[in-house]
Assembly symmetry: C2
Homo-oligomer: 136 residues x 2
């Protein structure tokens, strides 16, 4: 059995510096960003080309992991919702899930857009979008 | 900064017992399964109802984390692809991403379908599907 310790594969390089600047989701005006991956992961990127639709998984390292309920945007006064019914970064395992388009690949640096993750955010994984599973 | 150690929020209860039995993706004949969450996470489930479309994140604990390239199904002989271009469970951070429908909620037990994760698989997170982000 694998342990439950994540291995960051790289970091986000972005103009977004703190949570107050960041849009809540990538489709709300998030910028382009670089995924700067460690060189050891070059074989894992084999086949990745500009234009690819990719799911990027990140570790939202400025999140509060003890938050279990939040007041979402647009909710009625004092209405709270369980975090598993929101996309809040504050949750027990703050894994960010970002659907992006790859715009450039330079060695183990991957340019993507749009990405609402902050500068320095650890990157955990890239997965291809599968139409039958992710879009149904 | 949060550490990089995951906190399992519960486990999968499924008739699928090993990798040889499991379909590759949920839309390939995967069964219904229970997510048996720890009681402490009840507030995080607040608002979850049958019919909800949810992304379940799991920790694929029988994966090989040192695999960086694989030979996908249907690929030409000897063609290998970087794992970041596949949905193979074998990857540096074996986080499973499963789009499911909630069919029942009983306390902190959540029935979902379809789910290709194996019995005993740690559950990490539930997120609502967002049409604008996940389906575009």
């Amino acid at each position: 059995m694998t342990d439950l310790v994540l291995r960051p594969i790289g970091r986000v390089e972005s103009v977004l510096r703190d949570r107050a600047d960041a849009p809540r989701q990538g489709d709300e005006g998030a910028p382009d960003a670089w995924l700067d991956l460690d060189g050891q992961y070059a074989p894992a990127l084999d086949g990745l080309l500009p234009g690819a639709q990719v799911l990027v998984l990140t570790w939202l390292d400025r999140a509060d992991r003890d938050t279990l309920a939040v007041r979402p945007r647009g909710a009625a006064d004092r209405a709270v919702t369980g975090v598993f019914q929101t996309r809040s970064p504050d949750r027990p395992n703050p894994i960010g899930l970002h659907r992006v388009t790859v715009t450039a690949v330079e060695g183990t640096r991957v340019r993507v857009a749009p990405l609402e993750a902050l500068d320095g955010t650890p990157v955990l994984d890239l997965k291809p979008v599968l139409g039958g599973v992710d879009d149904r």
